[in-house]
């Protein structure tokens, strides 16, 4: 019959219309009440009818892998030894792997030696350019940059608000644990602990690099950060001064005393080093002789 196909189609529409009220009845017209824990059901595969969410009154929590604009992981602000310390070592991999090139990093340099210090002096992300691909987080070898879940970043002034600097980007480790618990644990297992990779290494080495634990938590994070940075710089400077003040002959004179503590693996055996040095000199001499012949 002409028109039967159309009428059959209209029954589909009718079914949809009726179904859109099924949930209302099922949840006693309290579908949008925050007390009713029906969200998973409403969004699940068995749900019928309308399943839209009344944004912004209710928001769908995004899944763990959701990615939206990176943030920098720092130690918790009540961390025992290094509160608020950057996990970033300013190795620059995220800046290189960033497809639209929206990451800008200024690497710290030691003020006295000019050598790079594994810590960013400044870190910028232009979120207008960021395409939320997540490569920075994927390729970061230190778990120091992660994709955030906060997608409500609209602002009235894009010229001033959309270049995120380090204070704005930095978030505590516990924040990452809170938005992506499963992944945080997985990463912890790979890393071997909740601490930063380098901190753990230092720990194994005897805690020389990271400084001593502080008794009381500092008043503010910023102060803590400054203090830890200052302490670190102090340590670097001290080491440098030590190295300058103690040239080769002195080192030769103190192997026994140093070897006892075994602080540095590469100074474990003085004899070994001497042997290597002699062999290298011999090789060098041999080469020189050969060149002379040629």
């Amino acid at each position: 019959m002409n028109g039967s196909g159309f009428i059959k189609g209209m029954f589909v529409t009718l079914r949809h219309f009726v179904n859109s009220y099924v949930d209302d009845v099922r949840y006693g017209f309290r579908k949008f009440s925050p007390q009713v824990d029906n969200f998973e059901l409403r969004q699940g595969t068995q749900a019928e009818g309308v399943f839209t969410v009344q944004y912004p009154d209710e928001k769908v929590a995004v899944p763990e892998r959701f990615r939206f604009v990176p943030f920098l992981v720092v130690n918790n602000f009540d961390h025992a030894s290094d509160p608020g310390k950057d996990w970033c070592t300013s190795c620059g991999i995220c800046a290189k792997v960033c497809p639209p090139q929206c990451i800008w990093i200024v690497r710290s340099e030691d003020p006295t030696t000019g050598r790079p210090v594994p810590e960013p002096e400044a870190f910028f992300i232009d979120i207008d350019i960021c395409m939320n691909c997540g490569f920075c987080a994927e390729f970061c070898p230190f778990d120091a940059i992660k994709m955030d879940h906060d997608y409500e970043l609209a602002s009235f002034d894009r010229t001033n608000n959309h270049v995120f600097d380090k204070p704005k980007l930095s978030k505590e480790m516990r924040y990452w644990k809170s938005i992506a618990p499963t992944r945080a644990v997985e990463e912890m297992q790979v890393r071997g602990g909740w601490e930063h990779k380098d901190a753990q290494k230092a720990e194994r080495r005897g805690g020389a690099v990271r400084g001593k634990p502080e008794a009381a938590a500092p008043a503010t994070a910023a102060v803590a950060e400054d203090a830890s940075k200052e302490a670190k710089r102090e340590a670097v400077r001290a080491r440098k001064a030590e190295a300058e003040a103690a040239p080769a002959p002195v080192a030769e004179a103190t192997p026994a005393a140093d070897g006892g503590s075994g602080a540095k693996p590469w100074t474990a055996s003085h004899d070994e080093n001497e042997k290597r040095k002699a062999a290298a000199l011999a090789r060098k001499a041999a080469r020189a002789a050969k060149r002379g012949e040629g």
Binding site: V97, N132, G134
Partner: protein, 630 residues
Amino acid sequence: MVMAQPEVMDAPDLRTLSVAESIAHLKEKFPDAISNDTREGYSGVIVDKQKLVEVAQYVKETLGYDYLSSATAVDYLGEGNHSTDHLEMVYHTYRTTGGTALVMKAQTDRETAELPSLVPVWRGADFQEREAWDLYGIKFAGHPNLQRILMWEGFHGHPMRKDWKEAYYEEETKPFGSRWPGGHVHRAEEKTIFGSNVKYPADLDLGRLADISDDQLYQGFGMGVDTHQMIDHNGMETDLLVVNMGPHHPSTHGVFRMVIKLDGETITQLEPVMGYLHRNHEKIGERNTYLHNIPFTDRLDYISSMGNNHGYVLAVEKLMALGKKYEPPTYRAEVIRVLMVELTRIVNHLWAIGFWMNDLGAFFTPVLYFIQERERILDFFEATAGSRMMCNYMRFGGVFQDIPERMHSAMNLINDRVRDTDSMKFLTEMINERIPRTIDELDEYLTNSEIVKTRSIGVGYISPENAINYSAAGPLLRGSGVAYDIRKAEPYSIYPELDFDVAVEPAGDMYARYLVRLNEMRESVRILKQLLPRLEYTKGQPVSDNNMAYSGKVPLGESYGRVENGKGELGYYVVSAGDKKSTANAWRYHVRAPSFINLTPLGLMCQGGKVADIVAILGSIDIVLGETDR
């Protein structure tokens, strides 16, 4: 056709020759015009440009390579491994009966830059040659309408040439040195747009600059700007009216424009005008490293980003396989890829049919029913890849990460609407219950609807010969009765071991395309059902052998990776060239965009139809402007 008849009689053996045999045969036939492409990692033949049309005709008519998949240009300027700078056109031709490509290349120097047009041989070369003229400045002798297609008339220069520098140009290739270690931020807008690379033509008088691009455009199409007086069949004096539809017409699915010449309500000529969303994706792709490009491919056909990823990683993986250090994707990685791609195909077709219904006048009711299912599939993408549409999921030699155990979201202060579903349970229920139910419902809802049938049967017709000749792909080609599906014709990934049929309809009209999409979704569900046990079986296998560290290198060579995407054949032509052993950035990165090339026959399909059908015919082709304009 009459000329070709006697050749067809004695040609059946020639039409079954393998590619290598075909090349050998060609060399016999045209001894002084054909030479092997002996460059490292390259394949195919270099054809003397004087004989190009003759050879192409022979390849098409006698050897049976009737389908011109891709025609694109490459600029070898200052590329160390090839002695002279030159421009090169690369033609990938296939047989619609299946098999691999016969690749032909024609070279010309950069100054004269002239090659014969292949439009007389394959109409599908039309837009692609216009693009090559636009972006590379190759003049095609004999092209019926050699105008710019993506840039506007009056644009100076050819942006894809290696010596052309774009606005905000910073460095030849990424990563830029200014980002690290001394990365003091600056916003691009604060710089001079063109820096030192702004160039004006020598004869330009800025004081007399006027926009003449539209006049040129109309003239190129052979249309007058004003009305034409004419006498119709009743002896009445009447007007031919030129109407612009778009670029801001809501039914063009984006910023697409059609210039239409009308006789009353009847279309006598229709010419697509595009490029309003052009961002020179390919130039960006050549500045990018290989890895950088993956998220950029998401933005092409943003409805089916997984498929875009797949084509691109296949192309680069082909190149990487030429080198020593390469681990092909594990079986599980392939299964997950196919899973994602088939889900994407369903999403794409639901979207296409839904918006086609919009175009027919069923405003938003059907499309919203279909989008419900799409939303749930996107939920799965979001939990797996991290994003609903810009998935950025595939990597060279695998995928980003395995499917998570649970589709889990954590509660925090603002968001208490959390979910914690078992991923496999979700997938199983979706594939076994929900998606088939939706497809059945769609079928019940629309297929026999008299309104849909009356509007679509016999409208927008394209014959199988024309569909092939115009390089149509995907449902447009299969809706004309050509059973050409790359998953069968040149299988990739794990498609050879999967059991499915090619959806094909002989009618060649809009309704046939609708049926093809409907059946293709059913076939996709069939594939997905076969994938579920494979997913269970391979649980625990690694999915990503990170072949490419953050700065991976790719050995020299060329490759063409193509996949059957929802919209049709999506191909990536990637060239790794330079004076080193391997490269970090593609020398040439070309996207054979189905949305772009499927528009070539739009004018043909609309001719003789009514104005009201244009929108529906365009909808039945199913384009996404992100891919059309690139």
